[in-house]
């Protein structure tokens, strides 16, 4: 696989679910084509039932395409060569409820044939990264949805994957968890990882994705770099520090001479997520008694160096 080859390549990908008698029942994905390139964060966006999860499951080899071509890291999705370089976080916790956090991560590490010493090291770093070191001996079945989600994320990273597939990554997370997840996705992308995510939460996708495809009724309705899709090329916004009233009037007068019509002047607003995080951060700093359960800001050490292209 060459450096510039797409990490995921789907051409005319179609999935038709059939009934017991093999009669077509639902066309969940209908002739979609897209490519995901190395190091980008690609988002599949769409309402429920639009075909996002079906597409992701075909990419992971959990469902077989009815028609079309699909390659992942240069191989068919069910090839173990590609699976060795993929990490997957499902929409819900599909973990074994009777295993502890440590056993869970160790188990998935063993499925990648990672050595015992390396597994021990990675499990510790991942538990530290997701802030669950204190719960390493607790069984996953006792966890809240958010905690189970973090373990799910950790298992997706145990093999230091080149491609990370995240199905509704912020589902079940509180705003802080959502922010951390989004920061982590960006950090991983900056480290050369390719991320494919699906979501119906528009703000999440907008925050982290480089490119998106919007699905509806199994078809791609729009796709491209998120900046290009959202940019209003017929309008412009100028932002500057607060001006005294007379200075502002002079600026507006000059602009009216050029633009020739009414201008809108308003104070920019922070988004609610940013405001919420500032409030919580402030409260956290002022609280003397710390719970110590928060995730660390550090990426697991073994994930810190870019691994892109080393499996060629």
């Amino acid at each position: 696989m060459a450096e510039h080859d797409p990490i995921i390549r789907a051409a005319e990908l179609t999935k038709v679910f059939r009934d017991f008698w093999h009669r077509p029942k639902v066309r969940a994905v209908d002739h979609i084509s897209f490519e995901v390139t190395r190091g980008e964060v690609f988002g599949l966006l769409g309402p429920n039932g639009s075909g996002k999860s079906t597409t992701i499951k075909m990419i992971l080899g959990l469902l077989h395409p009815s028609h079309g071509e699909l390659t992942v890291l240069g191989h068919p999705p069910r090839d173990v060569k590609s699976k060795a370089r993929v990490g997957y976080l499902p929409e819900e916790s599909y973990l074994y409820p009777y295993l502890t956090s440590e056993e869970t991560l160790d188990f998935y590490g063993r499925l990648f044939d990672i050595t015992a010493a390396q597994r021990r090291e990675r499990v510790s770093q991942l538990l530290d990264m997701i802030g669950l070191t204190h719960a390493r001996h607790r069984v996953v079945g006792e966890f809240s949805k958010g905690m189970a989600r973090r373990i799910g994320l950790a298992q997706a990273l145990i093999n230091d994957p080149d491609l990370i597939v995240l199905d509704e990554p912020t589902s079940g997370l509180d705003p802080i968890g959502c922010r951390q997840m989004k920061d982590l996705i960006r950090t991983l992308a900056n480290r050369g990882k390719t991320v494919l995510l699906s979501s119906h939460l528009l703000a999440d996708v907008e925050d982290v994705c480089d490119r998106i495809a919007i699905l509806y009724n199994g078809r791609i309705q729009a796709s491209g770099p998120i900046r290009d899709l959202l940019e209003e090329r017929t309008r412009q916004r100028i932002t500057f520090p607060e001006l005294p009233a007379d200075a502002l009037q002079r600026v507006l007068a000059s602009l009216r001479e050029i633009v020739g019509r009414e201008l809108e002047v308003e104070h920019p607003r922070r988004d609610l997520e940013q405001f919420f995080l500032e409030v919580v951060e402030k409260a956290r700093r002022s609280t003397t008694e710390q719970s110590g359960v928060g995730p660390s800001d550090r990426l697991a050490e073994y994930l810190s160096s870019s691994s892109a292209g080393r499996h060629e």
Partner: protein, 456 residues
Amino acid sequence: MSRIFAIAFIALRSSIRSRIVLLLLAILLLVVIGLPLTVRSDGTMAGHVQIVLGYTLGSVFVILALAIVWAGCAAVSTEVQGRQLQLVVTKPVHAAQIWLGKWLGLLILNGVLLALAGAVIYGLLLWTTRDSVTTATDRIALREELLVARRPIDPTLPDIDTPARARLEELQRQQALPPDVSPTLAFDSIRHTMLADYFTVRPGAKREWIFDAPPGLNRKSSILFRMRFNSSDVGFSPVDGVWRVRCENGPEVFMKRDARVPGGTQTLLIPAGSLPADGRVIVEYQNLNGSITVLFDPENGIQLLAHAGTFEGNLLRTLLVIFVRLAFLAALGVTAGSLFSMPVAAFVSLCLLLLIQLGGYMQTAANEDLVFQSHHDAPHPPTARDIFYRRLFKAMNVVVGPLQGPDTLEPLSSGVMINVSSVARVFAVQGLLYTGVLLVVGSWILSRREVALPSD
């Protein structure tokens, strides 16, 4: 291998956490300890050993067999339903590794339970037959007949086929055969009568049986004769007779006169060192009754049993045979669970188990021509339905037949040697061939199956 062991570990943990192991352990202990205490034997040591070994170990096998089939079905199907398999399948794991991991986990668990049950049964047997609670006669029976492994040697049969064929030809010449009896059936009937005659001792008469003792026959230890006979006396009164043993061209080495009640299995112990170093062994029975005919069973009615090994070795071989059968059943469950959802997989597996149990009937149905024609009053060529069923049963028997036997519990509890070759055969057929086929089929199903279908 690391991946297989990782999945096996999960299968083990799943069973332990679901408390099925505790439940199984409780049931096994109840059976192993409770059965010998509640079921009363006929008062003989043979009866006691039959219950402790035959019934208890048989029950342990049935319980573990059902449990392993059930757990095997659940191992894959519940993970498909619970979606845990989705995460496993997205890792670089081959379908065969998933199948083998599940199978191995179940096998380890059931192997441990079987070993525990075997150890408890052995301990219980030693404890209930300890010197302080047994008589001297009991102890001899235990040492010489029951807690031992003896190799059975059947008497050498004379040529029966030639005179039987001659008799058939004579009947045909005389046109004395009934019109509705086929020559094959007539030959079988004549042969059977002649064979029965070889094992019949008329009043006042003698009969000799010759045993071609194998080269490995242990002549230094005691020799046991085991016989089953009936008499022509409907009152079941004891029959008086004399037993004589000698080697070919040698003097008599043993003689005993006794009166025995017909029915059941009886034994006669020839003390150690009685037989000379070589030569065929000849056993003679003299019927001392004036009007009673003694009829030995042509099937194992008289056997010589020579010391060939220890009871512990025999028990170990029996446990090995049970273990191999459990391995096959685990494979059956895991494969069914790979294809179907839990209730369907369990139903299909239990139906297959039933089919295997009916193997004996199928064999009879396939081999006995008359089974399909019995509804005709007169000889009649087989109908298309007869031919269809016969072929169907033959085909089914080809598949299911190798899964039958050998029965190791009866020989174990009666002190008969279970040959290493029978254990090897069970291992080769059920452990390697059939389990291997199920591995291939199960892996193929798993590799083709879409584990994230909305209906799952």
